[in-house]
């Protein structure tokens, strides 16, 4: 009999509805699992067992009175860059180590409205800058499939928690791949919605034109439930789009025969890892057996995605992180000589290496004399990348490609080599640049038993297609059913 903590939201919801379990029982199962493995995995920055059980009790009352929602009573982990009122939100940075938000992020409010159970705040790369969850000031999260490996980043804690049974569902955020990459490395399913689909109110900003919140879970049906919850216009976020989103669960059983999957030449020619090639090839065969057609296409500016992103994102970050000045909240240096020195020391003490590096890079790229050569140029390349995708979608319904160039690598392996670390995002970054929705689906394992997945990309606001295609895939495969032994 599967442990409650390893089941999906859909399965647990059914059990709750049939009164075969309670939210308290489910939450206890997850908390027990956290106690058993957390010292090894370190998925969390903050765990709140009493508050969680309190929420579970309220959920059970609500369910008993017949006012339950399908997500009522389901335990969720929330990445530590989304504000949870009254609980510290640190962004895995010393500069916010004791920051307690006076408000809830919109997605947190939505979670509370439905009576979900908030377990705690998941570990991440500091200010979401990273691909491995190694830059967290609280220490790295470890991949539940092999504790010496990274879980991916920056939403490594969220993805690892799902894989390890330390949460049923989770929220991550994705700026250059930070949901899709850890989902891939941890063998779970994650989706980055279209930019503007989900409110960013209460999400601590890294790069405002790229950031998006999204769900991570064991399988596609759970993602559909969470997308239904969080997609929608929010007057508190002027970049959230006033759009009526469809019921994403309506895509779960739609056939995919006749759908066209684009295979971008440049993505596949970059692939050198035999395990990733094999998994992509296997995925292709599965889709073929389900009746999809394939279209060879070109995304000629793919090669420039990383360079453009690592100018644009740090530039936006240098602006967004200017607010951490020790004035109104967060760390303030104890010793300083005047105002400017206070800022300089506060920020030097509070920020980690990667954050400082990106602030310096971004400030440089935006500074007078360099703005045209760097930021403006990158912004123009962004237009070209977006155009590439627009053209590609004229001949296909969705694009099939890898999520990551390799399986998870060892903790510490790339920490001192920024460019090598940045290259991990080669397949995920272009999706953020164009604001498109992208899903990471478990597709198999490497020779060493590490999860490998594939990615599907759709046009703006066509998350439904991603749900449809991935759900069909998961109906005939079992990679998403595997669990690591911890």
């Amino acid at each position: 009999m599967t442990d409650l903590c390893e089941m999906t939201a859909f399965e647990l919801s059914r059990l709750l509805h049939d009164k075969k379990t309670s939210s308290v029982e489910i939450t206890r199962s997850v908390l027990d699992r956290i106690e058993a493995v957390e010292s090894n995995v370190h998925s969390y920055v903050t765990i709140r067992p009493e508050a969680a059980l309190q929420m579970a009790q309220e959920a059970d009352k609500r369910l008993a009175s017949g006012n339950g929602h399908i997500l009522t009573g389901i335990p969720i982990a929330i990445k530590d860059n989304m504000c949870l009122r009254g609980e510290r939100t640190t962004c895995a940075s010393k500069i916010l180590a004791d920051f307690v938000p006076p408000y809830d992020a919109t997605v947190v409010r939505l979670v509370k409205d439905k009576g979900m159970v908030i377990l705690g705040k998941a570990n991440m790369d500091e200010f979401a800058m990273g691909s491995s969850t190694e830059t967290s000031c609280w220490g790295p999260t470890r991949n539940p499939w092999n504790l010496e490996m990274i879980p991916g980043g920056s939403s490594g804690g969220s993805a690892a928690a799902i894989a390890a049974g330390e949460a049923i569902v989770a929220f991550g955020s994705d700026t250059g791949g930070s949901i899709r990459l850890p989902a891939c490395f941890c063998g779970v399913t994650g989706i980055k919605p279209t930019y503007g689909a989900v409110s960013r109110y209460g999400l601590v900003a890294y790069a405002s034109s790229l950031d998006q919140i999204g769900p991570i879970a064991h399988d596609v049906p759970d993602l559909a439930l969470l997308l239904n919850l969080i997609c929608g216009h929010d007057p508190m976020d002027s970049t959230s789009v006033p759009l009526e989103h469809p019921d994403f669960t309506s895509f779960l059983d739609k056939p995919i025969k006749g759908m066209k999957l684009g295979l971008p030449r440049e993505f596949f020619s970059q692939l050198q890892d035999p395990d990733v090639s094999r998994v992509l090839s296997d995925a292709r065969k599965v889709f073929e057996s389900l009746g999809t057609e394939f279209v060879d296409l070109s995304l000629p500016h793919l090669d420039y995605g990383i360079a453009a992103y690592y100018i644009i994102a740090p530039s936006e970050a240098s602006s967004n992180l200017a607010r951490y000045d020790g004035v109104k909240y967060g760390h303030r240096a104890e010793k300083f000589d005047g105002m400017i020195d206070m800022y300089c020391r506060t920020r030097a003490e509070g920020f980690g290496n990667e954050v400082k590096r990106r602030i310096v890079l971004g400030t440089y790229a935006l500074s007078s004399g360099y703005y045209d050569a760097y930021y403006l140029k990158a912004a123009k390349v962004r237009t070209l990348i977006t155009r590439d995708f627009k053209d590609a979608f004229e001949s296909c319904d969705a694009i099939l490609c890898p999520t990551a160039p390799t399986a998870a690598f060892k903790i510490g392996e790339k920490v001192d080599d920024p460019i090598q670390m940045y290259l991990t995002d080669v397949f995920t970054i272009p999706v953020n640049m164009a604001g498109l929705p992208g899903i990471a689906v478990p597709g198999g394992f490497s020779e060493q038993g590490l999860p490998i997945g594939f990615q599907l990309i759709a046009p703006h606001f066509e998350e439904g297609r991603l749900i449809q295609l991935s759900a069909a895939f998961q109906k005939v495969t079992d990679h998403h059913l595997k669990r690591p032994s911890l």
Binding site: V100, H301, L361, A434, H460
Partner: protein, 95 residues
Amino acid sequence: MKITAEQVDYVALLGRLSLEPEEKKKYLAQLDDILKYMEKLTEVSTDDVEPMTGTVELYTPLREDVVKPSLPIEEALANAPAKTGTAFRVPKVID
């Protein structure tokens, strides 16, 4: 474009970051590598291409000028490193 130590100093000041000498040296080397990688972008022709700053149609959502509840002062001050009365306490800004 090779980044110089003076440029790192200037940019660190703009970014209000004080860097230790070893940090400066390390960042100089790493940034140099990163910027060298960025030279790739010069391979792409972008004449007649509009820069993109975001992916949604940006508009300015307006609302009625009606006073709505705001954050109570105690909550706004709750995370303050230093406070006096109803204000944040900071070093002298103007001499």
